[in-house]
C-alpha cells in the first residue's frame, strides 16, 4: 500500500507495461495492414446467375468485432473469477482486479455492440436484430455491468462496495446462460452468426488475420487491465493514506492545544 510514498513519478507505467504497450501498438499497425491491404473483400459470384454477392468490404470489420467479442467474455469471466476470489479471500487485490476487469470489459463490450451494429447495417440490412441470441445476450451483459459500474461509483469508499459488487458480478454471470436460453427459445431465430462464419469459407490469410486480431486485442486489453488495476490500487492507497494523514493532523492539533491548555492552566493555578 506504500506506492505513493516510494514512487515520486506520477505514472502507472513500468518497463513491462511500456514494452507491452509498444507491442500492442505495433500489432495494431500490422493488423491494419492485414485487414485493409493484404486480405481481399468478401465477394462471391452466384453459380447460375453470375451475380456478385457477399459482405464486400464490410467483412473487414469482423477482424475488429470478433476478437473484441471474445475478449469481452474473457474480461467478464475474469471479473467473475476475481469476485469469487474476493468473497473467499477478502483481500483488496481480488477486488481491484474484479473492478478493473469489469471496467475494461464494459468498454470492449460497448465497442462490440457498436461495431456489430455498423457491420449489420450493410450485411443484414438492419442496425439491430431483435430475437438474435447473441445480440440480446451481449446487450443485457452490457447493461448488467453498467449497473455494476454504477454501484462501484455510488459507494463513498471503495471498501464498502466490494462485497455487493462481487455479488452483482456473480449474479450477472449466472444470469447470462439463462438470458441466452430464454432468448434462444424466444423467437427460434439464431439467424446469422453461425451461418456467416461458416459462409465465410475462411481462407488462410483471412483466418490468419482473425487470429492476429485476437492476439493484438488481447495485448491491448491486457495493457488496459494492468493500468486500470494500478490506478485502482493507487485509489485504494490514496484513501488509506488520506485517512492516516487526517488522523495524524488531528493528533498533532489535539496534542498541541492539549499542551497549551495544560500549560496555561498550571500557570494560572500556580
Amino acid at each position: 500500500m506504500d506506492i505513493l510514498a516510494t514512487e515520486s513519478r506520477i505514472t502507472t507505467g513500468s518497463r513491462g507495461t511500456r514494452l507491452l504497450g509498444l507491442a500492442a501498438l505495433a500489432g495494431v499497425l500490422a493488423l491494419l495492414v492485414f485487414a485493409f491491404v493484404l486480405t481481399d473483400p468478401d465477394v462471391r459470384t452466384h453459380p447460375t446467375s453470375g451475380e456478385e454477392f457477399g459482405q464486400f468490404d464490410a467483412v473487414r470489420l469482423l477482424y475488429l468485432h470478433v476478437p473484441m467479442a471474445i475478449l469481452t467474455y474473457a474480461a467478464y469471466a475474469l471479473c467473475a473469477a476475481a469476485s469469487a476470489g474476493y468473497l473467499l479471500r477478502r483481500t483488496p487485490w481480488w477486488d481491484v482486479t474484479a473492478h478493473a476487469a469489469a471496467e475494461v470489459g464494459t468498454l470492449v463490450c460497448a465497442l462490440v455492440l457498436v461495431t456489430g451494429s455498423i457491420w449489420g447495417r450493410p450485411v443484414w440490412n438492419t442496425w439491430w436484430e431483435w430475437g438474435d441470441v447473441r445480440l440480446m445476450t451481449t446487450l443485457l451483459l452490457f447493461l448488467l455491468f453498467l449497473g455494476y459500474l454504477a454501484l462501484r461509483r455510488a459507494a463513498v469508499d471503495p471498501e464498502s462496495a466490494a462485497r455487493p459488487a462481487a455479488v452483482v458480478a456473480l449474479v450477472a454471470v449466472l444470469d447470462i446462460p439463462l438470458v441466452n436460453r430464454s432468448v434462444e427459445w424466444w423467437e427460434n431465430r439464431t439467424l446469422h452468426q453461425k451461418s456467416t462464419l461458416a459462409e465465410l469459407k475462411i481462407e488462410d490469410l483471412t483466418l490468419f488475420t482473425l487470429v492476429l486480431g485476437i492476439v493484438v486485442f488481447g495485448l491491448v486489453v491486457t495493457w488496459l487491465l494492468l493500468h486500470r488495476f494500478r490506478v485502482g490500487w493507487l485509489e485504494r492507497a490514496e484513501v488509506t493514506h488520506g485517512i492516516d494523514r487526517a488522523i495524524a493532523e488531528r493528533r498533532g492539533v489535539a496534542s498541541t492545544t492539549g499542551v497549551d491548555s495544560t500549560v496555561g492552566q498550571t500557570r494560572e493555578e500556580s
Partner: protein
C-alpha cells in the same frame, strides 16, 4: 428447517403488518399499477387489437415497475430507525431474514398481479384461456422477481443511493423473467400460439436459482 420457516413467517408477517397499517400498497402502488395500464393504452393509441396482443408484455412491464416500488418500500421499512440493526441482532439466520422479506414482497406482488389481471381483462379485453397456466406463471415469476428484488434492494440500501441504483441493477437481471413470463402469458391469454408450459419450466428454474443465490448472497451482504 423448522426454525427457518418460523423466522421466515415472523419477518414476513411483520412486513405485511406494517404494510397493512400504512396502506402504501393500497394507496400508492396499486393506483400506480392501474395508471401504468392506462398510460400504455394511451401510448398505443387505444387500438383494441394491438392492446390485446401486447397485453401479456404490458402486464409484466407493469409488474416490474410496481416491484421496484414494493422493494423500495420493503427496504425503507428497515432503514427507518435503523430497524435493520435490530433484525440482525435478533439472531435469525440471514437466509431466513431474506426469505421472510422476499415472501412479504411476493404476497404484495401477487395482490398487484390479481389487480392487473383484472385491469387487462377490462381495459385491454384480454380473455383467460388457461387459468392454471396463468396462476402458476404469476406465482413462479412473482417468486423470481421478489427474490431478485429483495437481494438487490438490500444491496442498494447498504450504499445509500437506493432509489436510483435499484432499477439499473435489478431490471437487467429480470430480463429473462420478463421474456419467460410474457411468453407464458401469451399462451394463457391466447395472445400468441406458443407453448406456455415450456416457458413455465424456464421460469421455475429462474425462480429456484434466484431464490438460492439470494439466500446465500444475503448472508454475505449483512455480515459485519
Amino acid at each position: 428447517m423448522r426454525e427457518v420457516l418460523a423466522d421466515l413467517s415472523l419477518v414476513a408477517a411483520k412486513d405485511l403488518r406494517i404494510e397493512f397499517r400504512s396502506r402504501v400498497l393500497a394507496n400508492q402502488v396499486a393506483p400506480f399499477a392501474l395508471l401504468v395500464l392506462v398510460l400504455f393504452g394511451v401510448a398505443l393509441d387505444a387500438d383494441q387489437r394491438t392492446l390485446r396482443s401486447f397485453a401479456p408484455g404490458l402486464f409484466w412491464v407493469a409488474v416490474l415497475l410496481c416491484a421496484l416500488l414494493a422493494v423500495q418500500r420493503s427496504v425503507a421499512v428497515e432503514r427507518a430507525d435503523d430497524a435493520v440493526v435490530g433484525l440482525r441482532l435478533s439472531g435469525m439466520s440471514p437466509s431466513a431474514l431474506f426469505l421472510g422479506k422476499a415472501t412479504a414482497v411476493l404476497v404484495q406482488l401477487l395482490v398487484l398481479e390479481v389487480l392487473l389481471t383484472g385491469g387487462i381483462i377490462v381495459l385491454y379485453r384480454s380473455s383467460v384461456e388457461d387459468v392454471a397456466l396463468l396462476v402458476l406463471t404469476g406465482l413462479t415469476a412473482g417468486v423470481a422477481v421478489a427474490a431478485a428484488g429483495t437481494l438487490y434492494g438490500a444491496m442498494a440500501a447498504g450504499l445509500g443511493v437506493r432509489e436510483t441504483l435499484l432499477p439499473i441493477l435489478l431490471l437487467p437481471v429480470l430480463a429473462p423473467v420478463l421474456i419467460g413470463a410474457t411468453r407464458a402469458f401469451d399462451d394463457a391469454l391466447g395472445a400468441a400460439a406458443v407453448d406456455g408450459w415450456a416457458w413455465l419450466v424456464l421460469l421455475a428454474g429462474l425462480a429456484v436459482v434466484l431464490t438460492l443465490v439470494g439466500a446465500l448472497a444475503y448472508r454475505v451482504l449483512v455480515e459485519d
